[in-house]
């Protein structure tokens, strides 16, 4: 095989078939995919959760992960946030002509590893190759299907005054890890992306409490944006405590240097849960019992006044509004 991806790899001909069989099918190894029919076919019993996402992270490889791992985790987590058990993923690549084959193989291996870790299968896929310059090395699109258990009703609009707001761990790790290897902003750090599948954690949480109101993973836009979304959808206010939000020292330091606020930095292995106050302790324990949730804490609660607003207690006796992210968190100098 060639050592770089060529336009022919996306054209459906011999090279394309070789790529699918020797690279994708071998790594992703499951009976549904191996049939290589135009569609994957499965039977379902119950409510389906269905999600789609595209991944365009640059660079495609960063401390703690790569675009492949990100694609699986992102999709699995979207399903988990609806309380679904993730089952099947589709995987479509848009590859820039000239991408070294080894780079692609590394991404596919990541996908395979992460899929095994999450207990999901990649059952169908697609490959396109575009001219040099038409894609930034590699874009990935996914779709995912999961099953929602009976009685599970999790939605961003379910939060009620008096509920507690839980956060599963430190914020800002993913975004700052990616920034640390981006051209022009590089600083050296041992920070790694927190990219991880959270479906096992969510299953444990649902066992601990059947009445979880909301689940959301604070990805782009960070914790601040997610909390604003939930407050808006539910028509409630959320008050959080600055001191209770866990942030790694390295993330704080990197944010200080670049003039960024950890509240707005993307996370790929964390979740926010809104639960009835009586169940908060049990759910918190379920999160902490999971390796991805060691740093979990209660960060605030839901209120009725000023619906849609998120307010933070600063720790010097004052409070301030936490708005959604507007635009990109550009590093500032001023």
């Amino acid at each position: 095989m060639e050592d770089r991806i060529l336009l022919a790899h996306g054209s459906g001909g011999r090279l394309a078939h070789e790529l699918v069989e020797r690279t994708f099918v071998v790594a992703l190894d499951n009976p549904m995919l191996s049939r290589l029919d135009d569609s994957a076919v499965a039977e379902f019993n119950g409510r389906l959760a269905f999600t789609t996402d595209s991944y365009v992270v640059s660079p495609i490889s960063f401390p703690g992960g790569d675009i492949g791992r990100l694609a699986v985790c992102g999709t699995v987590n979207d399903l988990a946030m609806s309380g679904a058990k993730p089952l099947y993923l589709s995987l479509a690549f848009i590859i820039e002509e000239g991408l070294p084959l080894n780079d692609l193989k590394q991404v596919v291996d990541s996908v395979a590893l992460t899929a095994r870790e999450a207990g999901v299968s990649i059952v169908t896929g697609d490959t396109k190759v575009v001219h040099r310059g038409s894609a930034d090395r590699l874009f990935i699109n996914t779709a995912g299907i999961g099953i929602i258990g009976e009685g599970v009703d999790i939605s961003g609009s379910n939060a009620r005054p008096g509920d507690k707001v839980l956060l599963s761990g430190t914020i800002g790790d993913h975004g700052m890890a990616v920034l640390s290897v981006r051209e022009g902003l590089s600083f050296s750090t041992t920070l790694e992306s927190d990219c991880a599948p959270l479906n096992a954690m969510v299953a444990d949480m649902l066992n601990a409490c059947s009445d979880i109101r909301c689940l959301r993973d604070p990805t782009r836009g960070g914790l601040a944006t997610t909390l604003n979304e939930l407050a808006g959808q539910s028509g409630v206010s959320i008050r959080i405590d600055e001191g209770s939000i866990p942030v790694r020292e390295e993330v704080r330091a990197a944010c200080e240097m670049l003039g960024l606020d950890p509240l707005y930095i993307a996370n790929e292995g964390k979740l926010v849960a809104i639960v009835p106050s009586g169940h908060a302790d049990r759910v918190l324990q379920a999160i902490r019992d999971n390796p991805c949730g060691r740093g979990a804490s209660v960060i605030g609660e839901v209120g009725a006044e000023n619906p849609g607003r998120v307010v933070m207690n600063t720790g010097i006796g004052s409070s301030r509004i936490v708005d959604m992210l507007t635009g990109d968190p550009l590093p500032r100098i001023c």
Binding site: F187, T189, E250, A253
Partner: protein, 76 residues
């Protein structure tokens, strides 16, 4: 204006230094602070150290503020 962050100088190489804050490292230029030494804390603005921090003054300020806190405690 202006974002400047206190970092610790770990090593110096000519007019450049390797500096660290909270476990994060970056190269900084010492063009504006040629007097900086390893072990000093400097304020870094856009990749340049603009001043050497006075650690004694920092401690003095905190002591002063703690005194105020103590006095308040007495009055309050």
């Amino acid at each position: 204006m202006c974002l400047a962050v206190p970092v610790l100088i770990k090593s110096i190489d000519g007019r450049e230094a390797e500096a660290e804050i909270g476990g994060v490292s970056r190269r900084v230029s010492l063009w504006l602070t040629p007097e900086a030494r390893v072990g000093d804390y400097v304020l870094v603005h856009t990749g340049y150290a603009i001043n050497v921090l006075d650690q004694e003054e920092a401690e003095e300020t905190l002591r002063l503020l703690e005194e105020i806190a103590a006095l308040n405690g007495d009055e309050g």
